[in-house]
Amino acid sequence: MRLASSWDWEPGQRVVLESTKCSEEHEWQEEFYASPDGERLACVVRLSDFESGVWVNGEVWESRFDRVWYPRFGPDNRLTVLAQAEMDWTVATEDAAWEDSYTYVWGTRFSEDGAHVAVSVQQDGAYGMIVDGKIWDTLYENANNFTLSPDGSRSAAAVQAIPMGQAEVAKFKAGVFTVAVDGQAWDKIVMNAWTPVFSKDARKVAAQIRLTHFDYAIAVDGGLWPDTYQMVWEPVFNPANGQLAAPVKAGGAWGVAIDGLMAWKPRFFQCWQPVFSRNGQRLAAIVAPEYGEFTVAIDGQPWSWTYPVIDQVVLSDDGSCAAARAKDNDEKWTIIKDGKPWERTYDMVFSPAISPDGAFAAAKVEKKGQHRIAVNGHELETVFDQAWDPVFNPEGDKILVRGLSQGKFLRAVVPVEQYRY
């Protein structure tokens, strides 16, 4: 959250606004969304039977639509919604709609700095992407697995490049899918393509590929790694050096290959969600060393503590610390940090955050329908009816807490030093 450096990090709590104001003024109010900096609260409101609007901090946008959905704040705190007017759809950011409208738009994506907004589009039965209001020159029979590069300069998706009729099994096997980057399809046509992903500098694109019913591969910019595998999962680029890592299954077991060479020997029952540290020095993934026992492995070394379910690994900037969500056999969730679980368990633990230096892990936790924020296993005092995920400041010594409590939208900055292990 480098963008966060400009936010108000003065310790203390304040009421941003009375959130009940919305329901007092509008009979129809949908879910609230809080901006990343905690300064704004938004939701969709219905203004009449055929008119919807966007409510932000007590004001309704001037733009009115037939329907509005998917309100989302970008990393730069600007609000974007998908809106329908006169049967067609468009995108509106901060009360300004894009010029053109389309048959359908969905799946809003932001660049890391929030400056660029992309959506998936269906226009007259053809599929592609729109970035900042500019639609791909070429649209396709079908498209999915949409993605935007971290800098927002490029977009990609798995696309069906060759039309196919019902039950044309042989044609499908021969290959009808590929990856299109900025609308331009790779020459290599394959049976299936999934999860295209950009390198940090947006120069390279990689994807999972199925060549035949039994042969899986990883493709980079339309070229294939030399080996095929029994199966593969989502590849990920090293942000520092551009190397590509992907979980691969060989000989009945899962490992990780980097740039086509086996880096983690295949010895796991499962391996997925690979993630590099910001400095590219460490690679983590969720692994199952044994059937039914999941944990986190860093550079191929699994933690000894295992859980039936592990999800969402986050790494500190240098990769020296990691945290993930974990669920036990009693359906209770906790956070496991650096191989050790928090003592307390919850009905739900939401997305974990880790401080840049890795000293602190924090998450929104839920018990009996109420939310709190927990840091390194300690619950902060305020109880919320609804809270949002905590955010660390760039120095990693404070967290931003956002939540609704007793009809108020609260914003708190909490120093976390006291929770250091």
């Binding site: 099994v169 499908f172 199952a288 739900m348």
Partner: protein, 443 residues
């Protein structure tokens, strides 16, 4: 080598024929050995060595019972004609033999596991047939229509080639429709932290949208915290599980559970589908490495039962037409929901008539196990293969049959039509929707 029994009733299928046309005996043996060595173990060996060929499983099978007890349809015979021959010949079998194996495994066994109840040793013949299917998949010998469905799963993460936009669009359309009846109704999309992710199967947004409508009414009028995703991962069905393409099965299940975990829901409540339940409760989750499901999974029957027990679902009127209940294999034999199903039915339907046999002994609809998905070439055999089910339905003498499963609906519709039973088929939600209290509904 060809298989007696199946030899006399070979059905032409483009997918099966194209598959075997490419095969050589060496390829076949190599593939079979790879599957048997790499993917089976003590279970198959134990079954192979303990089956006494006693034939007690025969009367467990609706195909056998519906074909005048033709022994070639007995479960033991289907295994003898396929896996035992494969083992006896150490995998050295002909392409023609593989065609027969595929026809038996994909179209003459629903993997309903009724026969396992009749086996004195508890041999799970459904499992053995699934290994045969896995071999056929690995050899590329799969009926055309079900292969197309598996391709749809791989390309779109749903069963019906539903494109990414068509899903949220269908939900928004149903929300609009339902608001005429219940003005404050919502189908909440992408609500992180909702208690329930309501999941459906591919045909619902395509041609059974009334089920989404009815479920939305149920959720709204009973005050549930629920959501549906706007992304792929919404479909819980899985024909790749039945073609033997476990890699795609795993991919679909991962998309489903990843979606639930992304939304941070506490449970997945799924609509009335049996095979989909099997795929997320038993098969797909375990293939991925989870001993159980990573997010709690509830079939609709359990959910309705819970709503009644908690008093959240209130009955405005009863459904007085006499009804019977078809017990879907995957949720009754597979999950034991027979009592809950009856309690829900009886709560709404005072004139409930059991069909016989019932509960875990009920006959399969003959559509399950992917058989109906093998398409038109095999329809007649499938319908003939369930005369016993039609007779069961007729004996109840009731005009309405409740079947809380999509595949069962497909299978039962065909036999109701073919055997002219004159009955109407309903999902449980059809009756619940009709009879429940709807406090927010407008006149």
């Amino acid at each position: 080598m060809s298989i007696p029994g199946i030899r006399d009733r070979k059905i032409e299928d483009v997918g099966l024929q194209a598959g075997v046309d490419r095969l050589t005996e060496d390829q076949i043996q190599k593939t079979i050995k790879k599957v048997l060595k790499g993917e089976t173990g003590a279970k198959l060996k134990l079954y192979a060595e303990t089956c006494m060929r006693c034939g007690l499983c025969a009367e467990g099978c609706h195909y056998y019972m519906s074909h005048d007890k033709d022994p070639s349809y007995a479960p033991v015979s289907k295994v003898r004609q396929t896996m035992w021959e494969i083992l006896r010949h150490n995998g050295k079998v002909s392409p023609e033999f593989i065609y027969g194996c595929a026809q038996i495994a994909y179209t003459e066994c629903n993997m309903c596991k009724r026969c396992a109840h009749y086996c004195p040793l508890g041999i799970d013949i459904g499992y053995i047939i699934s290994v045969v299917r896995r071999i056929c998949h690995k050899l590329g010998v799969v009926p055309l229509y079900i292969q197309d469905t598996a391709h749809s799963h791989s390309a779109t993460m749903n069963q019906m080639w539903v494109k990414d936009d068509e899903w949220p669009d269908a939900l928004q359309w149903q929300e609009d429709e339902a608001r005429d009846e219940i003005p404050n109704l919502r189908i909440p999309l992408e609500v992180e932290g909702a208690d329930i992710f309501y999941s459906v199967i591919g045909p619902e947004p395509k041609f059974r949208t009334q089920l989404i409508y009815q479920a939305a009414v149920l959720m709204n009028e009973t005050g549930q915290s629920w959501t549906m995703p706007a992304t792929p991962g919404w479909d819980n069905s899985d024909m790749a599980m039945y073609t033997g393409d476990y890699e795609v099965m795993g991919r679909i299940k991962r998309a489903h559970f990843d979606t639930a975990m992304r939304l941070k829901v506490k449970r997945i409540v799924m609509g009335e589908c049996g095979h989909a339940f099997r795929s997320i409760y038993d098969m797909g989750n375990r293939w991925l490495g989870w001993k159980m499901h990573p997010v709690r999974v509830m079939h609709a029957i359990e959910f309705y039962h819970e709503l009644l027990e908690k008093g959240q679902l209130k009955i405005a009127k009863t459904f007085d037409t006499p009804v019977t209940l078809h017990d879907p294999c995957n949720i009754i034999r597979g999950r034991g929901l027979m009592d809950q199903a009856r309690e829900v039915v009886k709560a709404f339907c005072p004139n409930f008539v059991e069909m016989t046999p019932n509960r875990e002994h009920n006959y399969c609809c003959c559509a399950g196990g992917g058989v109906i998905n093998c398409g038109p070439p095999f329809k007649n055999v499938r319908v003939e293969g369930n005369k016993v089910k039609a007779e069961q339905l007729i004996r109840t003498g009731v005009p309405v049959v409740i079947a809380p499963c999509h595949n069962c609906h497909g299978g039962l519709e065909d036999i109701i039509h073919a055997y002219k039973t004159g009955q109407e088929l309903k999902f449980l939600i059809d009756i619940i929707y009709e009879c429940m209290e709807k406090p927010d509904a407008v006149e």
